[in-house]
Amino acid sequence: MLKFTRRFSLAVSVATISLAALPAMAQDYPSKPVTIVVSYAAGGGTDAIARVFAARFEKALGGRVIVENRPGAAANMGTDVAAKSDPDGYTLLIGNQGPMVVNPHIFKLRNDPAETLDPIAMIADATLVVVAGPRLQVHSMQELLKQAKAGELVYGSAGNASASHVATLLMGQMAEIKLKHVPYKGAGPAINDLLGGHIDFMVTTVPSVIGLIQDGTLKALAVTGKDRFAALPEVPTVAESGLPEYSASAWYGLLGPKGLPEDVRTKVADATAKTLADPAFIESLRKDGGVPSHLVGQAFADFMAAERTRWGEVVKAADIKVE
């Protein structure tokens, strides 16, 4: 059986070489569909951003762009796929801070994103928001911190080591308070328990709760970004509310495998820049709670390195580690 397969595969490899292995020339790029790998299953926040981006990126690049979901291994699978792909520009990756800068501190990775991936550009930056449920009678971030000092508060997160989790960890560490973490599978069930009064508060993405904030069902205490958020102008930042050093956000970037040919890389970067300036993209991104970022190339790489150091300290202090 094995013999057959091997001979068969050999025959096909020969066919492959003769038929399609013409050198991929940059001026032809893209001459076949470009695949954007997403490390999460279809239907999540990263997937949504990737698909909105891909739909616009396709126009800027002038060739078909396919989103391919490669979930698995705590989102490290996507990193592996991109890292191991041929650096020809036909496989790119949408990475967020989970697999890019938090996971290297938690998991033993087969492919370290800093060494195997080439950061092309950051495409979106989304602030998170601290919301308190009906069980917790507080009206400001300061009150929340005071209550947390008095007694242990329970917070929910969208999952272990998720942006929502690490952002709360950082807050607890900076404020020197002890908090009780309840991990959920995604923000939805956690918000449900927040509304039902089963947990006290949580840090989550703006789109997941904006309706409930505007309605007054949930109280928005602060946003986690450096600046206030346009859709919630009256909500202060965490930094304004007693933790001046604090900032955290969920970000998404486009990366490729290391070793992209310079001209292909330029084409991808140009198309990305064009997409980020596309009003239609900005508009859909804004609805997803994000703002387009303008960190390109080395600036994005530096940002990732800084984020990695920062979150490394946070997860180390919280002793999150997977053997």
Binding site: A41, A42, G43, G44, D47, A48, R51, V52, A54, A55, E68, N69, R70, P71, G72, A73, A74, M77, I106, F107, V154, G159, N160, A161, K180, H181, V182, P183, Y184, K185, G186, G188, P189, I191, N192, D193, L195, G196, G197, H198, I199, P207, S208, V209, I210, G211, L212, Q214, D215, T217, S284, K287, D288, I320, V322, E323
Partner: protein, 500 residues
């Protein structure tokens, strides 16, 4: 009451435009297609179509996406009945008696009852949403981790009732299912559990992989091993549609299923999966001939199918009233709303009444559409069974392989399903039933998650499950159900000993 009809009237006027009916039809058609294809679920389809909906108007886009969702629910039952492959957890129950009916030549009856039951359930659930959306929302919020855990325990007890053979074996299958659900990264610590370092196991076993392996491939192996038993399905086909008398016999089951489904559908975290087998358990308990359940009883198809559809529909309630998605499909609907510039949440009903009521009304139209699409299709599906088995099963293998691969673009999943097929065959040989295994597996995930969340909140105190009145009541129901389930079988085995 008047207000409700006014609202539904507004909704119907929105939904009954030619354009929206067209979107609804397209959605239901695509949904039926992806539901029938094993492995390709509504989640993948909707996320692929999401950017396309950008160019549509919001109401039309949402109506289409909703159509895909309930079309897929219904399409999944078709595959479960015809070839015993439940594409979703909710179809496991349908497969038990539905496929037995198909083997008896009653595939048409089973499919017809499923379609009509679903339609009745859909109609009722639409009214429930219009009239009771707000109070039902509060019901969902009562369920915190402790209450949810107790609900799952109750569900596992109900799973015992699903089995028609040995009680010990059924219990063992449920426990084994829960154990299988533990495989993969621990949700609290991320630590890998029982994965043996295999990458395909790190995120646990996908339900679809388990179902396609144990049920789909298992069934094929079973038929290959006992070839004389496999071609009988082709012999008789029977009537395509149920008679009025059959409908009357099933009406009770349909209504009871609808009621159960409507209530369980609003539970967070996909509590709707409990609906079909709560209905099965109920029908079996009140039936004159409980011993026939598992051998092709129509009520065991019409009841759970109605429950499933009603639950699928009322699970829109948390989405519509709170903007909270109870499952992955609903999360995509949120995404679709956001893309359209609509903020999901309590205000949708005030800010976008035409969208809200249009969507509600479209649910009913969608269900009508499904009947219109599917009743004629029943003839086609049943004819499919006439394809010689020597060609039918390779086609099933190919469709399963593609579906399995497309779940996460991972070849490991395809191989895993093949191995699970052998497990399915072994279960058949040892006369274990696979349905309790599948349900234990589905509920197991939630069970452990909620147990640990509840204990973190309560600082490790087990009394949290009793101090919450709701939780205590649920546990009590589970206990009573367990006693009822165990008693007759103990009496029976005693009788057997005496007659020996």
């Amino acid at each position: 009451m008047m207000a409700m009809f006014e609202h539904l009237g507004l909704g119907l006027s929105v939904a009954f435009t030619l354009q929206n009916i067209f979107f609804c039809f397209i959605g239901c058609l695509i949904g039926t297609l992806v539901g029938v294809l094993p492995g390709v679920g509504p989640v993948a389809t909707i996320s692929i179509l999401l950017p396309v909906t950008l160019s549509l108007d919001p109401t039309g886009a949402l109506i289409m996406l909703a159509g895909i969702y309930y079309g897929a629910q219904y399409g999944g039952s078709t595959t479960a009945i015809l070839v015993n492959i439940p594409g979703e957890a909710t179809a496991v129950v349908t497969a038990i008696d539905g496929h037995e009916m198909a083997k008896k030549g009653q595939a048409g009856l089973a499919l017809g009852l499923a379609a009509i039951g679903s339609f009745i359930a859909g109609t009722f659930a639409t009214i429930v949403i219009a009239a009771l959306a707000m109070p039902m929302t509060k019901l969902g919020l009562l369920f915190g981790p402790a209450e949810y855990f107790s609900l799952m325990i109750m569900g596992l007890v109900l799973a015992v009732v699903l089995a028609h053979g040995s009680l010990v074996k059924a219990l063992a299958m449920i426990v084994a299912g829960v154990l299988l659900s533990c495989v993969g990264a621990d949700m609290e610590t991320g630590r890998e559990r029982m994965t043996f370092g295999l990458q395909m196991l790190t995120d646990g076993i996908e339900f679809v992989v388990l179902a396609m392996g144990v049920f789909g491939f298992g069934e094929i192996f079973k038929n290959l091993a006992d070839p004389e038993k496999r071609d009988v399905m082709r012999g008789t086909i029977g009537r395509l549609l149920p008679t009025l008398k059959e409908l009357r016999q099933n009406l009770g089951a349909i209504l009871r299923g609808t009621g159960l489904g409507s209530i369980l559908g609003v539970l967070p975290g996909n509590g709707a999966i409990l609906a079909p087998f709560a209905s099965y358990a109920l029908e079996k308990r009140i039936s004159d001939r409980p011993q026939d359940f598992g051998k092709g009883v129509p009520q065991a198809v019409s009841g759970p199918e109605s429950a499933n559809n009603a639950g699928a529909q009322t699970s829109f309630i948390p989405l519509l009233t709170l903007g909270l998605p109870p499952n992955a499909v609903m999360a995509l609907m949120v995404g679709a709303m956001m893309i359209q510039g609509i903020v999901p949440g309590p205000q949708v009903i005030q800010n976008n009444p035409d969208l809200f009521w249009g969507l509600v009304a479209s649910m009913w139209i969608g269900n009508l559409m499904l009947v219109v699409i599917n009743l004629p299709l029943i003839g086609v599906w049943v004819k499919l069974l006439k394809v010689p088995y020597r060609l039918l099963f390779p086609a099933i293998v190919a469709f399963c392989c593609i579906g399995l691969f497309s779940i996460s673009n991972d070849a490991g999943q395809v191989i895993m399903a093949g191995i699970l097929g052998l497990l399915g065959f072994a279960l058949y040989k040892l006369q274990f039933e696979a349905a309790p295994l599948a349900l234990g597996f589905v509920l197991g995930r939630l069970l452990e998650e909620k147990l640990r969340q509840a204990l973190i909140i309560s600082d490790g105190s087990m009394t949290t499950f009793l101090t919450s009145p709701l939780s205590a009541v649920l546990l009590m129901i589970g206990l009573v159900a367990l006693i009822i389930a165990v008693l007759p079988s103990m009496r029976k085995s005693r009788d057997e000993i005496f007659t020996d």
